[in-house]
Symmetry: C2
Amino acid sequence: MEISLKADYALRAVLHITQATNSRPTINEIARSEKIPREFLAKVLLDLTEAGILKSFQGVSGGYQLARRPAQITMLDVIEAISGPVVLNLCEPNQKLKDGTPSASALMHPFFASLEKQMIVILKKQTFAKFPARSRK
Amino acid sequence: MEISLKADYALRAVLHITQATNSRPTINEIARSEKIPREFLAKVLLDLTEAGILKSFQGVSGGYQLARRPAQITMLDVIEAISGPVVLNLCEPNQKLKDGTPSASALMHPFFASLEKQMIVILKKQTFAKFPARSRK
């Protein structure tokens, strides 16, 4: 039931960029600070750029910045950009037993559909403007 | 973010046994009815028996039955018997950047801890007595 490692890295990268003190952190800076393997991060940043969540800049002052304001980027946006639609369980709503009654998978479908919906609502409400600011503790 | 296939099979097996019209469905019957590969199901049923969720009976009238009443078995019980504690994200709550401020992973930790708790509450409330009964539709 875990979030994929790739989605986790993507969330960390977006949050790092959101809260960066310099305007455009580079891939090396994000990888080093957040302890994300650089090669893996490169793929993640490409996906996020293609999904319109990040903008990538080349050159001396190059690096990454958010493509829109933090309040307009949700956890769900980032997870879906990496892993596609959030799916909890591949229940088959119409599967039947031989006698024509619904299978166990079909009987569980409404429960999982509702749980999925509740999670999506929570992930959609949490924008990147809502995390606490970095500060020394 | 999916539930593991093994946990999904376990949930289906427990629900099948809960609603079986004969008192002790066999592994062959469960596998065939719910379309679960038999070898895989054997491992799942063993885990569920060891976790005290199912009882296994040998012999002519052998098969599986619930070890306690359906209202006392929750979705969480079954998922944890198969996959261990429900963990959404392996955030590191105390991870720090070089400058001593919390990492992105640490900043996200309270959000994921709360989401996890909400999911656990929902999975704990849903007992096997709460699913609709099989019926022809």
